[in-house]
Assembly symmetry: C2
Homo-oligomer: 339 residues x 2
């Protein structure tokens, strides 16, 4: 089979995906008899378009500017071209816009409406309009996958199919590495939130405007996706009770410590509720992880808790999740084609 791909967004995640695809493209050909061709790469101000497949070696060579590539077309837009390129798969990696989910939402809807499978690393469309996207994908018999949106490389969405004989009943998670880094540093060094935040910014763990992280919004968006996927809910971010970490003091952490606890910023789905906020956690709890890691604890009906842990961010981390989704789609489509 041939898989004609368009990538929307050539930022860090998009570029890492192209690098990873280049490295794995012959493996995919060999193992799954699938020719991957990147037919288009869209950016906000134009696109590279080559129906025969963009030369990834050339594109990713050092010191090349992709806007100077001979296939670059200024000012063309994904929304205008998705339907015309005879695509099989659309990969969305534009930056998250938390209020509207645009332009990713429109890209995803447009792709699915044209019978094109979708992989998204952009989470906003899913914490805002989960049900709408899922229903459309079902109606069009298309795959829509978004493993990279929660805990990046940690396969915490697709794990559902590994636990299909069990039943997940509750989720407790650390979904924002920035906040976990800040709280870990405050706990071990006794420094204030402001000092720890500055340190995180200097190390590149926190944005210049850190509000989406420290106010809890980022974790809340991921929690919505996680709960909808694993618990079969249909919530949106408006359903989450959100509290950030900005009010936590070294004194509060010290007090917790004297009782054998620390404070973690947890995302919890239980009964019918979604909650993001600071919680006391025992010092020897598996939830007491340090640094920028993410952790997801799945309470199950038949086998206690199953915990997954790993890096929650990073270009290649997200790219590896996208490639997992891509190969899963190839395998499924192959089966359909073969029979």
């Amino acid at each position: 089979m041939e898989l004609k791909i368009c990538l929307i967004g050539k930022g860090n995640v998009g570029t890492c995906f192209l690098k990873l695809l280049k490295e794995r493209i012959s493996f995919i050909k060999e193992m799954y008899n699938c020719d991957c061709k990147v037919a288009a790469i869209f950016e906000y101000d134009g696109a590279l378009i080559n129906k025969d497949g963009i030369d990834l070696e050339e594109l990713l060579a050092k010191n090349t500017n992709f806007r100077e590539n001979k296939f670059w077309k200024k000012e063309v837009k994904a929304t205008d071209l998705i339907s015309e390129l005879d695509l099989d798969l659309c990969i969305e990696t534009t930056p998250t816009e938390p209020k509207t989910g645009e332009p990713a939402l429109t890209h995803i809807i447009e792709a699915l409406s044209n019978n094109i499978d979708v992989i998204s690393a952009n989470k906003a469309p899913f914490f805002l309009h989960y049900e709408r996207i899922k229903n459309l994908a079902d109606k069009m018999n298309c795959f829509v996958k978004y493993e990279a949106t929660v805990a990046s490389c940690v396969p915490v969405l697709s794990i559902k199919r590994n636990l299909i004989g069990n039943r997940i009943t509750r989720i407790e998670a650390i979904l924002n590495g920035t906040n976990n880094y800040i709280l870990s540093r405050m706990a071990t060094e006794g420094i204030t939130f402001a000092v720890a935040l500055k340190e995180a910014q200097e190390l590149g763990y926190a944005e210049a405007d850190p509000s989406l992280d420290v106010d809890g919004f980022d974790a809340a968006g991921k929690l919505v996706i996680l709960a909808n996927e694993l618990l079969n809910w249909s919530k949106s971010i408006e359903d989450v009770k959100i509290e950030g970490i900005t009010k936590i003091t070294p004194e509060a952490l010290e007090l917790a410590k004297s009782d054998g606890y620390t404070i973690k910023h947890l995302a919890i789905a239980e009964e019918n509720d979604l909650i993001v906020g600071p919680r006391l956690v025992k010092m020897d709890s598996p939830l007491n992880i340090s640094g920028i890691l993410n952790l997801i604890k799945l309470q199950t009906k038949y086998a206690g808790s199953i915990i997954l842990m790993g890096r929650g961010a990073g270009g290649f981390e997200a790219a590896s999740a996208i490639l997992n989704d891509l190969i899963t789609i190839v395998k499924e489509r192959n089966k359909v084609n073969v029979n």
Copy 2:
């Protein structure tokens, strides 16, 4: 579709599986259009056989002795009947016999040779004769699944397909809950190995003869399966350098602690080697888990380490892994049937 099952071994795991199947049988029917029928349950001294399906409600009712069931036949053997019962799936839950893997090995070979899919909770055949079983399954186009053999409910074998776009390069794991419990207690309480072992035995975490655990053999068997599965190796337990925990002293733990370390019993697969033995682990490492949990750290090429953690033993824990395998097989067989 109909799924005619035989269960071999009605111990704790086998009985928990029957209970779980009873609870989920209508879900499987509804979701996957599959009628599960247990046609036979073999024990060492006979079997319950009913080609129309054993009544699980009646079988599992309180205060019933299954050897008094009207379908009980004394002294019939699985090996004589597997080929005659028109089975689709054979589930092996007999106790592990570490030197020969028997009688489980013969059951598995017999089932596969008769074109019957296999799920095993018995690990010995897989750490002794992995390649032989896999080759036979491939030749017969049969599924052979054994998620329950390593870390029971934690889906650490099937996770391979969730990471298919990535590449696992190294494994570091805590695969024996008994040993981890003993070392945790020695580290926190300053007690000797002998005292901690006695405590573990009193709590039911360690066997009367604990040698398979404390000498490292149990962890080594699981490591072989894990490495063969995730790293595509073809090793057997003879390839593992094994050291147990019996020589660890409270003094050694105290010394480690004074440098910020503790001692854990690790199972490691790296480069071409399989090693089980005590290792120094930093106090704040994610590997420093306490109690009877299992932990598996998968080093990946593209996304750092991904860690899975959960209960490594228990009847319902293993049963949930068996049911995951069962539903995965049903889904695959359904696809084949549908098309």
